[in-house]
Subunit: 219 residues, 2 copies
């Protein structure tokens, strides 16, 4: 049974899956995926997040209509960056962008779209007064989002995280009747993969991410 | 072997562990914990985070000296909130706060303190212009932080996440020689648990976190 996937196996094969079948996700599978999110830690155990599980075809279609132009704006820059690459790096990026273009056209056809919301008034955002972008509020929501993605992997469900729809936050809040003071922080179309789905991922090695004792200290 | 822990078992028993033994963490264990972080997804696969692995006793001690007064400032409000509770809820919070007070005094004695840093200039922060606190930058760092915590659980290592030291970001950056444009977003003392360590956690049920199709829609 899918739930027996090992922790490291799930993490090391969790790739973005952007081509999704429209097949329904069974309720028990969805329940386990959301339970994984509920288990995540948050500052003061406040759990200052909620998730709208969009299954209604009309709502998903409207989310898709909001997503398509945002992806269209983003994609031109992304494709231009690819032109600077060569060889296998370029081929890999092109495959990714073709899949992302596919998602841009089919966002609303995913059987479920998860819309994660957060309430900043119940968060202790310790970096809000610093003279640089604040990220700490995310510390109480993205651990839950990551748990949900890992659970998707365990259940054989493809998923990918996007925040592009924050550019359409007003429209999304109106569509889903999200009240003050709740806002959007993550959008995740999920579904069974069209192709092979999960598998190898490409990441920096630990030695390039971790330092011993001080910046640049060789780990 | 610890790495065989199942995904859901790890998630459902990942509790904050604030009483840590000073015993050294073997290098191979630390390597697996950091590898889990490296596997995490990030926007555009940029991985705009690094982690300083503080093992040097003097550096840890100085981090502890920076943490103690921040915890002291925070704890009085937290203990006051407990006075409003009764029964088992109060007893649970008191146990948590006693452990947090212990951590406040022994922060620098954890055998390893992980200091997560991020580079906002390489992030696409899609909510930076919205009239509410921005969290999206966190979407490219806290999935890695969550992977690290889950890996700690898998390895039998206790951990807890704090962002209180963001209040001392300048001092931390100087201590660890963190250059522009890198900033701090998560601090994690880790070590083998003094007491039982991981176990049951207390969270809202899925029905209180998930809505179907629209806000408040019964899932």
């Amino acid at each position: 049974m899918a739930a027996e996937v090992g922790l490291y196996e799930a993490m090391s094969t969790l790739r973005a899956v952007r081509r999704l079948r429209s097949e329904t996700i069974p309720d028990d599978v969805l329940q386990r995926i959301l339970q994984a999110g509920a288990w995540a830690p948050s500052g003061g155990n406040v759990q200052p997040w909620r998730v709208v599980v969009a299954k209604d075809p009309q709502i998903r279609s409207q989310l898709g209509e909001l997503y398509a132009p945002e992806w269209a704006k983003y994609r031109s820059g992304a494709w231009k960056n690819v032109e600077r690459l060569t060889g296998e790096a370029r081929a890999g990026q092109e495959r990714m962008l073709r899949a992302a273009d596919h998602l841009g056209e089919h966002f609303g056809s995913a059987p479920v779209i998860l819309v994660f919301c957060f309430n900043p008034t119940t968060m202790a955002i310790t970096d809000s007064d610093l003279p640089r972008p604040s990220v700490v509020g995310g510390g109480s929501v993205y651990p839950a989002v990551q748990n949900v993605m890992l659970a998707c992997r365990a259940e054989g469900i493809g998923c990918t995280l996007t925040t592009l729809l924050c550019f359409q936050e007003d429209a999304v809040r109106e569509l889903l009747a999200i009240p003050d003071p709740w806002y959007t922080c993550a959008f995740m179309p999920i579904g069974y993969p069209e192709l092979r789905g999960h598998g190898p991922i490409s990441r920096r090695p630990v030695e390039k991410l971790a330092y011993l004792d001080r910046w640049q200290g060789k780990f």
